[in-house]
């Protein structure tokens, strides 16, 4: 799970955890690189097309998340369906305020998700603590203090369109990931 520099995965965020056996193909020569490039493309395509998100709503943004998943906006069109358990989800949408009491749960949920995993901070509370940044004594001031975040979506709460925009942004990021055959 931890980032292994020898495998050449990009450091940090979300960790595109490449499975080790494929990495050997880097040594196969130029033709292999083309193949590897295509494999990357294919794998990334699969990953971005099937972003199952964890049903994890703490506050107001959770309602917009539901509405984004419902009939009008229909996240299912993007292949994004909700899963109730972190083990089967790829995307942790932090929708809502994270308090200090909740903080270690968020961290645990993130750790329970299998690689590769992605995090979207949705709304002001998850971005920076939002409305509770100034006067509240018990709100985590940004979920990026707990877990690595890939995409931040501003809004309080963001419109469902903004959420979809964020997911499409994440898809773009996923497409640029190098999983296999990156220079060791």
């Amino acid at each position: 799970m931890s980032h292994d520099p020898a495998h050449g995965t990009p450091p940090g965020k979300g960790g595109a955890g490449a499975s080790a056996p494929f990495v050997a193909s880097a040594a196969l020569g130029p033709e292999a690189h083309v193949m590897v490039g295509n494999a990357d493309l294919f794998v990334n395509w699969a990953r971005k097309s099937s972003l199952w998100y964890l049903l994890f709503a703490t506050a107001c943004c959770g309602i917009e998340l539901m509405q984004a998943g419902a009939s009008r906006y229909d996240l299912d069109r993007f292949g994004a369906v909700f899963r109730a358990t972190p083990r089967q989800s790829d995307l942790l949408l932090v929708a809502g305020t994270i308090t200090h009491k909740m903080a270690d749960r968020v961290k645990r949920l993130y750790e329970q998700m299998p690689e590769p995993k992605y995090v979207i901070a949705m709304g002001s509370c998850a971005n920076t603590g939002g409305p509770f940044y100034k006067d509240s004594y018990c709100v985590v001031k940004g979920v990026d203090l707990l877990i690595p975040v890939d995409v931040y979506i501003p809004g309080c709460p963001p419109r469902p369109e903004a959420l979809i925009d964020g997911i499409m942004k994440l898809q773009k990021i996923i497409m640029q990931r190098k999983n296999y055959g990156a220079k060791a």
Binding site: D74, D76, P114
Partner: protein
């Protein structure tokens, strides 16, 4: 298989020197591969169709951005699941944890062997076909129970226990509801059952219309079988809103994928059994597919069979997206207080009917009235 192998050896002189067992083995493997490919394709497409149907019913679209009109969605899901990190929880029983998904998958996949897809399209026409299906699909409960136990998660354990209780209970009504078809055909072989529903009576040759009791049998079977495949309203083992995800709560990646596929495999098996036992199987209405040349007859009957089976699958999905879930005690009450007595009464009724009317169904009697 052996007979097929022998005829193949006779037909192809190149195989003359090869021992019989090798050819048989080869044929078995080939058949298994064909069925596996079919099952996987069906299960992949099934998941997509499920989402599309859900979309339609829920006034939305469903997947439409992956590939043209979303048809590659299942491929993306599959590839992603295969490449996911495979987590085994720290305190899980590692061996059983790994084994469980294969039990479930094999349980649903092995039943494909006796499904009569067409006139001659059946991997193994066992003379105990129905019995085999019932026995092999029961393997699913072992897998589910193992998964629930081995995960070392209380939600999973509850899910596994629910599944065990549920599937064991519902085996009885499922079996009892299928026996009328067996009685009418006088055989346990699925191919025989399908053939017995042929004839030029069209859809009235079906067991569904054979007599009032077999008519009800179909609905009883369908209800009970929904429960056996853990479909809503009987999806208690994985009840998303109660047990988070039930027995597969700790599974990720390809192991979860196997559970996922098995679900659709089970669905198809139920639909196929309902088709074969009550809806005339591959019989084309008002037409003898067996009289056509081998290839065309098989293709036609395969098409008819799949059309019927997929309709049943669609109905299952439709039910799934409409009804709420039962509670566990209500589920048991439904099995033991409603379905079991009713199926037994039905069985009695069919037996008496066959005894009194010498095996003739209502359509046949009406037809005989008109000469």
């Amino acid at each position: 298989m052996e007979a097929l192998a022998r005829s193949l050896m006779n037909a192809v002189p190149l195989l003359a020197g090869v021992p019989l067992w090798a050819v048989t083995l080869l044929l078995i493997v080939a058949a298994a591969v064909v069925i596996l490919v079919f099952a996987l394709t069906f299960e992949g497409v099934g998941s997509l169709v499920l989402r599309k149907v859900a979309g339609d019913i829920q006034a939305r679209i469903g997947p439409n951005r992956v590939g043209p009109n979303g048809i590659l969605q299942f491929l993306a899901d599959g590839v992603k699941l295969v490449l996911k990190e495979d987590i085994i929880p720290a305190n899980a029983d590692r061996l059983l944890f790994k084994l469980a998904p294969y039990f479930v998958f094999v349980g649903s996949f092995a039943a494909f062997v006796v499904v009569p897809f067409g006139v001659g399209l059946i991997a193994a026409d066992l003379n105990i076909g129905i019995y085999y299906v019932m026995a092999v699909t029961s393997l699913v409960v072992v897998g589910v129970l193992l998964a629930g136990w081995a995960s070392n998660n209380k939600w999973a354990l509850l899910g596994g226990m629910r599944a065990a209780a549920q599937i064991v209970s519902y085996e009885i009504p499922v079996g009892m509801a299928l026996i009328p078809a067996v009685l009418v055909a006088g055989s346990l072989s699925l191919q025989d059952i399908v053939r017995s529903q042929g004839g030029l009576l069209g859809i009235f040759g079906w067991n569904l219309f054979h007599n009032p009791f077999s008519f009800f049998s179909f609905f009883l079977y369908f209800t009970a079988a929904q429960a056996e495949t853990n479909q809503t309203p009987f999806d208690l083992p994985e009840a998303e809103s109660e047990l988070v995800s039930g027995y597969n709560v700790e599974y990720s990646g390809i192991r979860f994928g196997l559970f996922f596929l098995a679900e659709f495999g089970d669905m198809f098996i139920v639909a196929a059994l309902a088709t074969a036992c009550f809806l005339g199987g591959w019989n084309v209405p008002f037409f003898h597919a067996a009289t056509l040349p081998w290839i065309w007859g098989n293709l036609l009957s395969l098409g008819v069979f799949l059309a019927k089976a997929f309709t049943m699958v669609l109905i299952m999905m439709w039910v799934r997206w409409t009804l709420p879930r039962l509670r566990v005690d209500q589920l048991m009450r439904m099995a033991w207080k409603y379905l079991v007595p009713l199926t037994f009464i039905n069985l009695l009724g069919v037996s008496l009917w066959l005894l009194v009317f010498k095996g003739k169904g209502i359509p046949a009697m009406i037809a005989s009235l008109f000469g």
